[in-house]
Subunit: 138 residues, 4 copies
Amino acid sequence: MTIDETLRRGFKQAPFIAHLGIELGDLGPGFCEASLDLQPWHLQQTQVVHAGVIATLADHCAGAAASTNLPAGEFVVTAEYKINLLRGARGERLRCRAEVLKPGRRLAVVEAQVWSEAGGRSELVAKLNATMAVVQGR
Amino acid sequence: MTIDETLRRGFKQAPFIAHLGIELGDLGPGFCEASLDLQPWHLQQTQVVHAGVIATLADHCAGAAASTNLPAGEFVVTAEYKINLLRGARGERLRCRAEVLKPGRRLAVVEAQVWSEAGGRSELVAKLNATMAVVQGR
Amino acid sequence: MTIDETLRRGFKQAPFIAHLGIELGDLGPGFCEASLDLQPWHLQQTQVVHAGVIATLADHCAGAAASTNLPAGEFVVTAEYKINLLRGARGERLRCRAEVLKPGRRLAVVEAQVWSEAGGRSELVAKLNATMAVVQGR
Amino acid sequence: MTIDETLRRGFKQAPFIAHLGIELGDLGPGFCEASLDLQPWHLQQTQVVHAGVIATLADHCAGAAASTNLPAGEFVVTAEYKINLLRGARGERLRCRAEVLKPGRRLAVVEAQVWSEAGGRSELVAKLNATMAVVQGR
């Protein structure tokens, strides 16, 4: 199984990601894109998307981006991330693109941006910066 | 409606929080506790709890802790947070306690810790540190 | 005095910045560049530049970038920042460019990158992400 | 040379730390304390202590705390840190205490608090949270 196939399966087989409805888009060396069609239960009581939904999308996409650089049998776990929530997210869909800022054998630093989309209009709603730890696969 | 009642309703009326199953526990000036009974769909494909579940619990609980210090008509939104995922979370339940480190009229800094619990054993799995922006209620 | 002049004076009149030897370079709406000629006392005992030097350069430059968007009489203070130290910094000079990711009347989010330079070669050594709080001037 | 002696020498032999005037205080398994007598050149143009001084103290002290848990021949480098600047720091002296939140063979998570002191009064001015990477000694 190629890394690409492994990562595509990872999105479908990670229960929380599949449950939320997050879908893998494009994927290549050092980057990953994913998206999510918003549902009413993704919201905060103020009717904006809950930060937890945005962070889950960004973090998972960042992990996949980091994984594109790894040899078979290795995967990453998130050691930490910081996320800035730039404005309330509303709309029909969230879109995320994650890019590896610094690959490494033991640690990788990855950044991700999340946009909300509605009616053909796109708005940057969050920026994540994560440290991923490389671990040996099971 | 008191702040306490407002916050208790906030946990039930925030669709994503209610959907995840997060429940408010104790609440007082500058602190908040909440918990979550874990379900199979909360997991990552590696069978540990997805970081997004842990972060949602910690962030929401931190926001409630910050809100306990506010006059009526004000609420908080998360400007940013950092979370350190200290070890893989397994077990039956997550428990969170958030405490305000520095209250403020415009910004509050809040910290939250998350433990996983199983068979009477408790383990610290994450630490969050958030900056909350105070905004005027609608 | 224009914002530009105010910021240029800010680099010379901030005692710690002048002491370190940090010099303002280019400056415009939403961005700022600065640099530092490295001295032996800027180092860590391992002979790489101390993280504190890199962070000071990045944070100060980020604050100046945020200030370029402000009306006269307002300035910013750093509420928080995160910095990733991507590799050990060696060389003759550090160079920084900061850009505002999200301006705001009360909060601005700014990113900064720091490169080390030696013999015409440049290497990214750090990435900072800061939340700046806008305050009324004295 | 014991870890304790190594760390004490580290404070004196790190050029930037010695130059700033940072002094190691108490030290033990999983914690470290340090302090700094403030000088006029440590300040920002607004007469508060520059964030770079506070961050340098907190980061270096956090690294020493993480090092207390290591076998001989290993040391740590800061992978990343986040610092919240809670209020403007004024006074005669800064004091820092760092504690390891989660030790590890490859990564350690450390927290540090910084207080400003003046006339017997102490005030919390900053909180740092760092990820330290363990590396083999030279």
